[in-house]
Symmetry: C2
Subunit: 498 residues, 2 copies
């Protein structure tokens, strides 16, 4: 079993480099001086490439081949590790080291350029970088190979087993039901007043409420950090160090509330992975889709429920006496669930959110396929927004430049957001068979929910694949009908459509 | 010149690992959750060992041997790089990799244990770790070899060219003059009132003043971060990212004032290294002694001068109206220069500071030599404190446990503090030949001083050795007499001893 030891040493080394890269990202997003971005891009590129070199090394290949021959002698965790790294090896071994390194440095720099371009709403600034990023991604897909559609290779990076075929069907189902529901809402007589969430809410008070919320939902503050960044995110350095950021807008109360709960949901997943997996690489969420199912469960199912506001509104009202003195719990609940086709994905309501994802999905699919080109993206973006949501950006900052994801080549990532919503609704349906989730929320018993998620999902880390998780927990494959039912029930109720 | 390219690639890789280690240290000192310390120690150990492996690799050896043969064909920077890494290679190549890695992980963990032991004032907790650290250091010195005294090898790590022989002489000179001066001060009639610096000074106001001071002395805030940590320090990630921390004590005004100026002095050195050296490894201060000469020049020569307070006291008084309304500039100046033998090095006045260093120097020398043992340190510490300063700690937290340095094996570091004071005084003497330094401070023309230091010292980075710097700038070797003269003049004046 010397090979097992060697294998684990390689993993430990890779992990160290990857964690260093993560820490640099954390640092750059939260506090590093802007003038040092270029220096850091080089360091990140180097560390990332070193991890890549180990992954694709002859040593790794030998370890995998040897261990695969006697895989039945390995314990469950070690066997899964071999399986995991076999897949990672096959994915990456065909990419030449120098191209990987160039890409890695480019990605770090391109993110900084994207930020500038977004600030100036200047797509031309970003275009040459994005073109190169897309070029590399297409080249890498060709090296790696693909089945049926080149985009499938990238989808699999974020959601193992996901394909264009499955997603087309998934989005069709959603579209079929969401679009009529949205029309009904648009034509309903119900007027929701959400002006009060746009009053001025000083940051200090928002901070206090975010902190309170994280405690409520069960984020362990002794094993993490809460900080601010331009774009909220969660970062895991180890199970004992799961960090989240939020962003406070003084003229929009709900932004930080929901980004805090959202990131808190991600963090609760990471903080509750089984002890036995710590330090193995399997000690993290199994896919972006399952991860999003957790963050969205917290953000939407819990955070946008009436029960949640019944319990927590008094706290918010206490902090912002003046702004909220005349607001009722029900008004708060409705304001948090107002449906309004809009331009910005991260501010979208629960119902139209999937439509934003469809815009990106259509673009990515065709971009990687070579059917469309980077230079045409602003036009295509605006057309799709008009088709799906009926709104058209007046500039690229609120259009094609709004998201960070493409800047570092994360094509294939966006669909996980929609999958997350669907998984979350499917988990909710199962959960409701075991106990009354609404009642739990009204009774402020979020621990019951958290324990269920810990036990059925979180603890497994990467030990189970996303399709195994969903099958084990709910008894069936991913099924979009649960999301549709959930949305119908919720919004028909709010908008008096029955 | 393929070997030169290969050589630089090795350096770039090592630098990336070292920068990652630095970032982890920054993170752990300023914000990382305590519960994640053990996880991080492993990662740091791995990254540090990877850098070590590259440094001591056959590839590095070959590069050095090849490049040394044609060293006259290299430009100044490249030739210096070869020289620098030859020394580093010879230092480290004899240490076995596994022992280096064990030591590196131990050092990261031991620092956390030291912190706990200090908090509990419990030397026994720390003892087993420190014993192992000392054991490794002694073993490493034996691998590396030494001339005359084993401690010389460690001194050279922090101050190239420094030896026990030179230091014994240096400290003897200081002792010969400082001890009588101290006695005169103790017997003088002058009473300095410094009670007001121990009033309550809320943190926010202290922060404002620290920030103001950093601007005054010329720290470039756009190329760094100012943060808080238990123990103030400076950390350089690149010339464009030089970070400092301070620590605010609400019941002691001067602590943060002087730690801010001190770290600011370090940072100004790092921020002003010549552009041509950026990214080469030569883009940092040349030795700990020269570094300390810059931080102490700012802290003591500038920050504890009457001219400095004449310019800046009004700002402090404005922030803390109530506490300082009856205090004059002269009283502030005297309070900042009160001489009082005390237990804690970092709170020591400029005069008795060297005596604190002597205590540590005596211990380190004998510890590495094997003349004394770790278990006896508390007793020895207290005895030396009594001999040199006439004060005895009542517990180990204010005694042998007060400093972080031994916890990660930084034996040989302490003397740089005393050398820094001496270098600073020697630089000052030269500077005064060119312009009136006191007048500069009174006229708020700190840029003149900064430009001089930039031009004579900072810009060279590691291109020049410490003895070359001191010789080039002052025309002679290190000479303790300048420090003695400076201290005599200053304190005889303050304490009316003439």
């Amino acid at each position: 079993m010397d090979k097992l030891k060697e294998f684990k040493e390689l993993i430990e080394k890779m992990n160290s480099f990857n964690k260093a890269v993560s820490l640099f990202h954390w640092d750059m997003a939260t506090e590093a001086p802007k003038k040092s971005v270029a220096d850091k891009a080089d360091v990140i590129g180097m560390l990332d490439t070193e991890a890549f070199n180990i992954l694709t090394s002859d040593k790794m290949k030998e370890c995998l081949e040897t261990l695969e021959k006697t895989i039945e002698d390995l314990n469950e965790v070690d066997a899964k590790l071999v399986e995991f790294y076999r897949k990672e090896y096959d994915k990456n071994a065909k990419i030449p080291e120098d191209e990987y390194k160039e890409f890695s440095i480019l990605a770090a720099k391109s993110t900084a350029v994207w930020e500038e371009a977004k600030g100036k709403s200047n797509f031309d600034l970003y275009k040459p970088y994005l073109e190169k990023i897309v070029e590399y991604k297409k080249k890498f897909v060709n090296y790696r190979g693909y089945e049926k559609h080149p985009y499938n290779t990238l989808l699999d990076d974020f959601e193992p087993g996901m394909t264009v075929e499955k997603l087309d069907k998934f989005f069709d189902t959603l579209k079929k039901d969401i679009v009529p529901l949205l029309n009904n809402i648009n034509q309903s007589n119900k007027i929701i007043n959400d002006k009060f969430v746009r009053f001025i809410y000083p940051k200090e008070g928002q901070k206090e409420f975010s902190d309170y919320l994280l405690g409520k939902i069960g984020y362990d503050k002794e094993r993490g950090i809460i900080k601010e960044s331009e774009h909220p995110f969660t970062l895991e350095l180890s199970t004992n160090d799961v960090r989240i950021t939020t962003h406070y807008y003084e003229n929009y109360l709900l932004s930080a509330v929901y980004s805090t709960i959202h990131e808190g949901g991600h963090a609760i997943y990471e903080q509750n992975i089984d002890e036995n997996l710590i330090g193995t690489t399997l000690d993290t969420g199994t896919s972006m889709g399952i991860h999003e199912s957790q963050s969205r469960f917290y953000e939407n199912v819990i955070g946008r429920s009436l029960g949640f506001w019944k319990v927590n509104f008094h706290k918010l009202q206490k902090i912002f006496k003046e702004q909220l003195q005349d607001v009722t719990v029900e008004q708060m609940y409705e304001a948090a669930n107002i449906v309004k086709p809009s331009l910005i994905r991260i501010e979208a309501d629960e119902l139209t959110y999937a439509l934003h994802i469809m815009v990106r999905y259509e673009i990515e699919k065709q971009l990687i396929n070579g059917d469309i080109e980077v230079k045409d993206l602003p036009t295509i973006w605006n057309k799709l927004m008009s088709n799906y949501l009926g709104v058209i950006p007046t500039n690229d900052a609120e259009g094609v430049l709004q998201d960070i994801h493409w800047s570092d080549g994360s094509f294939g990532y966006f669909p996980s957001y929609a999958l997350g919503n669907a998984y979350a609704a499917q988990f909710l349906a199962t959960m409701n068979k075991e106990f009354d989730v609404d009642k739990c929320m009204e009774n402020d018993e979020l621990d019951t929910i958290k324990n269920w998620l810990n036990d059925k999902i979180h603890k497994y880390g990467r030990l189970l694949e996303p399709n195994e998780i969903i099958k084990n927990v709910t008894g069936e494959e991913l099924n979009a009908k649960y999301l549709v039912e959930y949305l119908k029930q919720k919004y028909e109720n709010i908008y008096n459509l029955n």
